[in-house]
């Protein structure tokens, strides 16, 4: 999967940067729309998007994919674990396409398809996919 990370840009600019980078990498145009749940859908590939203050992330793969990014310093109720684990749950839920069910929130305990990265010592980024290759690009 390709993961594009754009920092310090508004959403529109981030999207433009990603599209240009993708076209450069793959030689095709990346086009997507959103379903009623806000999930990005594309005819030609699978996508997942996440953004939090200051950063926008888009992951694309021909397998199902989920991605989530959060600030490491973000407060989270201790009943929910820690924010790193939270990004894993979100990425997992997004890959499944179910959204965060109560079951995932309460019982998710890790999954081999989940990878977590520390971005700049500031963010946790988790990806979840059967696609084992993760190519991260900073734009």
């Amino acid at each position: 999967m390709k993961v594009y990370i754009v920092k310090d840009a508004d959403k529109q600019s981030a999207i433009e940067k990603v599209k240009i980078a993708y076209a450069n990498d793959v030689g095709k145009e990346l086009v997507w729309t959103y379903d009623t749940q806000g999930k990005p859908i594309s005819g030609s590939c699978n996508l997942s998007i996440s953004h939090t203050s200051g950063v926008y992330v888009l992951a694309v793969s021909d397998r199902g994919v989920g991605v989530d990014i959060e600030c490491q310093s973000r407060h989270i109720s201790p009943k929910l674990g820690d924010i790193r684990l939270w990004t894993q749950k979100e990425a997992y839920a997004k890959m499944l396409g179910t959204g965060l069910t109560r079951e995932i929130v309460n019982s998710f305990d890790g999954d081999d398809r989940v990878k977590t990265f520390d971005v700049d010592g500031k963010y946790w980024l988790s990806t979840c996919s059967d696609d084992e290759r993760v190519e991260i690009q900073r734009l």
Binding site: R74, I76, S77, K79, L80, G99, L100
Partner: protein
Amino acid sequence: MTFEKLVEIIANVMNLDKSTLTMETSFKDDLNADSLDVVEIIMEVENEFGVEISDEEIVNYNTIGDVVRSLDENI
């Protein structure tokens, strides 16, 4: 009563001034709440009100009013 309790919870979770919250306030559009915010709010609501809210119901909670009406129906 329900409304007051609920905005207290929301203001707490999201670090907001509760006087800015109304029945029409949309979690996503007005408060920029993401899934973590929603899960934390629901958790506190379940705790405070002694109810259990299903995943199906949560999907329909767009505004504070939606939650208030749902809680009032259950009590």
